[in-house]
């Protein structure tokens, strides 16, 4: 990938399927939790992790015409159609989908979930759950990890007291560390937590079981949010 696609600037479209722990019960040989980290270290490739049917359709359409190497990462299960300002009737509240442009699926000002792929729905559920506890949570679908939408992250850091990133990937080298690096270099230090897969042998089981195990769930993210805001 480095030599023949990225270095050679071939506009190849790489489409990863059954990523993350889609094949949870088949064991670690069949988990893909390191791809984003490896690709982030290679220049000249865009990395897109769609969260739902809308993003998938848009990303595929744009990738077909993309002039640079691009990596699209999908899971295995049927995708959701997530609510967003546009699907809620507020077309003006949502800009057109573009690679490198994050989508704010829900606004909030206490904390911000920055998630991607199949974890986004859990961030949305957690935000709704936290609303009942009078915590206002923004949810951003950071579908593109490279190039990163730095403006969306910096705005969130200025608007909210805490940021929680969520990804179906190792905590090393993925979305969370990309956000942390940006924030620190910009001189911002909001309360910050990375939710993902820790540096250990991953448990196995169904994808939903593994998500719950590592706190990628409404309850898990709610708990991280409460703990972070109380710090």
């Amino acid at each position: 990938m480095k030599n023949d696609i990225c270095y050679s600037d071939m506009p190849v479209k790489l489409v990863a399927i059954s990523s993350g722990v889609s094949y949870g019960a088949l064991g670690s040989t069949h988990h893909s939790l390191h791809d984003v980290a490896a690709l982030r270290a290679i220049n000249n490739i865009d990395i897109v992790v769609p969260a739902d049917n809308f993003e998938a359709q848009q990303a595929i359409t744009l990738a077909a015409e993309h002039k640079r190497p691009i990596y699209l990462r999908f899971g295995k299960a049927a995708m959701y159609s997530l609510p967003s300002p546009a699907t809620q009737g507020d077309r003006a509240g949502e800009s057109a989908f573009a690679i490198g442009k994050a989508r704010v699926l829900r606004d909030g000002h206490d904390l911000c979930f920055i998630a991607n792929g199949e974890t986004v729905i859990h961030a949305l559920l957690a935000a709704e759950h936290l609303k009942q506890r009078s915590i206002s949570a923004r949810v951003i679908s950071m579908h593109t990890i490279k190039p990163l939408d730095t403006a969306a992250i910096l705005t969130a850091a200025n608007d909210c007291r805490a940021i929680i990133t969520v990804e179906e990937h190792m905590i090393h080298g993925g979305l969370g560390e990309a956000c942390a690096s940006l924030l620190l270099q910009a001189g911002l230090s909001p309360k910050f937590a990375i939710v993902g897969f820790p540096d250990e042998y991953t448990v196995t089981g169904a994808q939903a079981d593994i998500f719950r195990h590592y706190g990628i769930s409404m309850e898990g993210l709610g708990a991280v949010a409460a703990e972070l805001l109380a710090r």
Partner: protein, 279 residues
């Protein structure tokens, strides 16, 4: 105490039932391939391999690497029978937190190597065989490959290497059932003639009925000390995917098909009939 051919045939039928049982209860598994390679594992573990729970820590043990890792249910059933763990533990197959996952992992006692990413096992076997030679040990290494798996180019690098290093302590076994997940191997990436290919790579080639206890036993015997050339050996085991259950035999969907309750009952009854007929 060594088992007779007849006893091993009965054991194969018992293994087949156990494979179906654990896959049915897990609701997941690779039925077809496990049934096609079970006779091979039976002969290896009950007649050939010097591997047991007692000697598994010994560097002198023989090595079995199941490169076609997806047929893990066959391996788990045989390892349970050999006493590496209790068969009942397999009730947790593919469950949350269980170490009995859908591919071989060294977290399970008796498993030599983590496999499941296809095309890795033969290279590992080459390394194992070279190490044995360098250490002056007489242990042998066996690697089970799928025929579909041979489309992975790494196999042919390993094949070239094995001949170069004259690894007569290495035996590759091809579970030649001619089916893979997406169809007939000849339609996905034709690999015939396998015998001529391996011969051209410098291997001793044996082609056997992969369900014949007698033929497998014969093919797994060590090379004669009076041999003229020192070569690695490949045993092309002609098998039938889903072997032993009429409606699963040679049907691609059973690659990772899981029987319904009705199919499970029917399959178990069929094997029972075969067991009685052969008794």
């Amino acid at each position: 105490m060594s088992l007779t051919d007849h006893q091993l045939r009965q054991k194969s039928l018992q293994y087949r039932k156990q494979v179906l049982e654990i896959i049915y209860h897990a609701g997941a598994g690779h039925t077809g391939g496990s049934l096609s390679c079970i006779d091979i594992l039976n002969v290896l573990y009950n007649r050939v391999l010097r591997v047991s729970p007692e000697n598994f820590g010994s560097p002198d043990r023989d090595r079995y690497i199941q490169s076609k890792g997806h047929s893990v249910e066959a391996l788990f059933v045989v390892l349970a029978d050999k006493g590496f763990f209790a068969f009942d533990e397999l009730k947790s197959l593919c469950r949350y937190g269980s170490h009995f996952v859908g591919h071989p992992t060294r977290k399970v006692p008796g498993v030599e190597f983590n496999t499941g990413a296809l095309g890795h096992g033969l290279s590992i076997g080459v390394g194992s065989a070279i190490a044995a030679k360098k250490d002056g040990r007489d242990c042998r290494t066996f690697v089970l490959l799928g025929d579909g798996e041979l489309a992975e180019g790494s196999n042919w690098e390993a094949a070239m290497c094995a001949a170069h290093y004259q690894l007569d302590n290495l035996t590759a076994i091809i579970d030649h059932n001619t089916l893979q997940i997406t169809g007939r191997t000849r339609d996905v990436c034709a690999n015939a003639p396998l015998d001529e290919k391996f011969a051209a790579f410098g291997w001793e080639v044996m082609t056997v009925d992969g369900h014949s206890i007698e033929q497998l036993t014969s093919a797994f015997q060590p090379a004669s000390p009076s041999r003229q050339t020192v070569r690695p050996r490949v045993v092309i085991a002609n098998t039938i995917k889903g072997r032993g259950v009429s409606f699963m035999e040679d049907v691609g969907k059973w690659h990772h098909g899981v029987p319904s309750k009705e199919e499970y009952v029917k399959a178990m009854a069929e094997i029972d009939v075969t067991m009685k007929a052969e008794r």
